[in-house]
Amino acid sequence: MKDLPQTVFVVDDDDAVRNSLRLLLKSAGLAAEVAASAQEFLSTYDAAQPGCLLLDVHMPGMTGLEMQHQLNVRGAAIPVIFITGHGDIPMAVEAMQHGAFDFLQKPFRDQELLDRVQRALTRDTEYRARLRQTERIRERLASLSPREREVLDLVTQGKANKMVAGDLGVSQRTVEIHRAHVMQKMEAGSLAELVRMMMTIAPPQ
């Protein structure tokens, strides 16, 4: 379920490369938007736009790697595929260490590029879906009362209802009722599902 169409963003200072890429993407049925510099891109980019980014490394003004850094700082998660007229291994390794999705050298075969673009777009879709899911879980979590929240935490730790009752100083029956409400509000079908939800929103280690 795609709310917004995916766009392939192209940032490259060479006119010929930019225009030819736009045409190539178009011929493969992909929507493309181009920018001639990092500044131009950053000034108009909206992180809500789904898609992926084809980014040149060597550009006057802000370089590709610097722009990647800027995106990281902003928390943008758009997958970045670096394209470069001159790449060496140290540069590629640095780009990947800073979170690049892929790294391609010019000139490239069209299928090569399109495969990687497709992979990046899929990654972006999955990521956004996960994001939405996390949002939804948070929303549901926020709808729980404090007591319900407590029950949720203890239950997902693996404690039995009896133990939970003891920890909270309430009756087992009360715990059972809270638990039912939690399952309902969280739209979880089972304890396992509930646990998975909580793991989803937990920060990565």
Partner: protein, 509 residues
């Protein structure tokens, strides 16, 4: 004088006074007078000579001729013997033969005719000539011992004198060179104009200054030797130039050695040029990969665009046009690289230094690109032209610019610095003396004090993968252009390498 017929006292006195030998004879050749000088000359006393035939004084050959001449004269024929002086061989009493200069005249109003012969002793002259000849022989010896070639010609370039060395070098004999035109016979065809012009210049020169020139002579076996000549004009006592004398040294082998050394230097230069190109490979491949990528993208896009049922032909056409544009762009870059790498002969041409810089701007800018730096140009307008080998100067610029970007790249903390902080500047400006200064400045760390001394040494490098040759070669190229490659610190930090090229005077016409 004894037994004379008719000479008056004055005549007699005259005859006695004269230094020459005088013999008077009658129309039958009988000696009638024989003066003291004649006595001394021939070894006869007058008394023994008078009455005898004058032929006793002559050699066998002349004897016959004399009778002949006399007969002919008396017969009314042409006066072969009279009025003209000539060298004749005569005979001494002791039988030895020697040469005298004889003039014969008819005694006026003598009838029957009497003849007076004046015999001039050429013995001294001969002695002088012998001495001269001896001198000449000795000089000849010197000429022949000389290690230089000696050639003298007359005004028309016809050879009058050649020494042994010249014969040896030209592998010719006397007969093949003497009295022949020098340029036509001995000079290599391509150089004949030079040789003739040199002779002309010597003959026309107002002073005695020797003049030099160099050209090839051709030996009889076709081998060309390269000779450096010094020539002087030879003047007669009146100051008119009669001919020229050339002294030449065969420097063929020397020149070959020089040319080998030059070729070796050229080879080193092109190795260094290739090394520089290798160091620039990043920039070059980047520069070429752009049009190549565009070509690949456009043509691949065209393939896809044509697969649909109703292709957008104008779009495909526009894309294909771009393909050719990009291909030509790539070709241009390759052409420029090739001309920089090609092993061309050194060719100095008068040109504008700014044009040279602009020619390599694309390549230099691509090197800037891969170093994430910027290249700026500050070129003064209306600079005087310079006479340089364009390719070599461009090589020096590439080396300096590349070094500058490398120096700046080593700055660890790039974050937070504006782009201008990594700018390399190429500047040209006129000096107060009217020459042209070219400088390459960067804002890197600059050179530490002790490094500054060593930086031009061959194989000295601060780079991990440097050859250490770049600056040494650059310096020798600049030196060959009569200039010096210098270093000064840049403000507020960084390095500036510069050189000053002499301005080329425009020829006045």
């Amino acid at each position: 004088m004894r037994d004379m017929i008719a000479p008056t006292p004055d005549v007699l006195a005259l005859l006695e006074a004269t230094f020459d030998a005088v013999v008077i004879m009658d129309d039958r050749g009988r000696i009638q007078a024989f003066n003291e000088s004649a006595e001394a000359m021939f070894g006869y006393r007058a008394a023994d000579a008078i009455g005898r035939n004058v032929s006793m004084l002559m050699t066998a050959i002349d004897r016959l001729q004399h009778d002949d001449h006399l007969k002919r004269y008396l017969g009314g024929g042409e006066a072969r013997v009279l009025g003209k002086g000539r060298d004749v061989w005569v005979r001494h009493r002791d039988g030895s033969e020697f040469s005298v200069f004889l003039s014969v005249g008819r005694i006026p109003n003598s009838d029957p005719p009497q003849f007076v012969g004046f015999l001039h002793d050429t013995h001294l002259r001969r002695k002088a000539l012998a001495t001269l000849d001896h001198e000449r022989q000795r000089n000849r010896l010197y000429l022949d011992l000389a290690q230089v070639m000696l050639v003298a010609t007359d005004r028309n370039g016809v050879v009058q004198l050649v020494n042994q060395r010249a014969f040896r070098v030209l592998k010719r004999t006397n007969a093949e060179i003497m009295n022949r035109n020098w340029a036509d016979t001995c000079v290599a065809p391509d150089d004949r104009a030079i040789a003739r012009a040199a002779i002309r210049a010597l003959l026309q020169s107002a002073n005695d200054e020797p003049q030099s020139c160099e050209y090839h002579v051709r030996a009889s076996d076709g081998e060309d030797r390269f000779i450096t000549w010094r020539g002087v004009a030879l003047h007669d006592p009146d100051g008119v130039a009669r001919g020229i004398m050339l002294s030449g040294e065969d420097i063929t082998d020397q020149r070959r050695a020089e040319s080998e050394a030059h070729k070796a230097l050229e080879r080193m230069n092109s190795v260094a040029r290739l090394a520089t190109m290798g160091e620039m490979a990043a920039g070059i491949s980047h520069e070429l990969n752009q049009p190549l990528a565009a070509i690949a993208n456009y043509s691949q896009a065209c393939s896809r665009l044509l697969r649909v049922p109703e292709p957008d032909i104008p779009e495909v056409a526009a894309a294909l046009e771009q393909v050719s544009v990009q291909a030509l762009r790539a070709g241009e870059i390759i052409r420029r690289i090739r001309s920089l790498v090609r092993n061309e002969d050194v060719r100095r041409e008068t040109q504008d230094i700014n044009d040279l810089i602009r020619e390599v701007h694309t390549l230099l800018a691509s090197d800037a690109r891969v170093h994430d730096g910027r290249l700026a140009l500050d070129l003064s307008e209306s600079l005087p032209k310079v006479k340089v080998d364009g390719v070599q100067i461009q090589q020096v610029l590439m080396n300096l610019v590349h070094n500058a970007f490398e120096a700046q790249s080593n700055e660890i903390n790039r974050a937070g610095h504006p782009a201008e902080a990594f700018e390399v500047l190429i500047a040209t400006r006129p000096t107060p003396e009217g020459d042209v200064e070219v400088s390459v400045s960067d804002l890197g760390p600059g050179l530490a004090g002790d490094v500054e001394q060593k930086i031009f040494e061959p194989f000295f490098t601060t780079k991990a993968t440097g050859t250490g040759l770049g600056l040494a070669i650059s310096r020798s190229i600049i030196k060959a252009h009569d200039a010096r490659l210098g270093y000064r610190a840049n403000q507020p930090h960084g390095a500036c390498f510069f050189f000053v090229l002499p301005a080329q005077q425009e020829p006045h016409r």
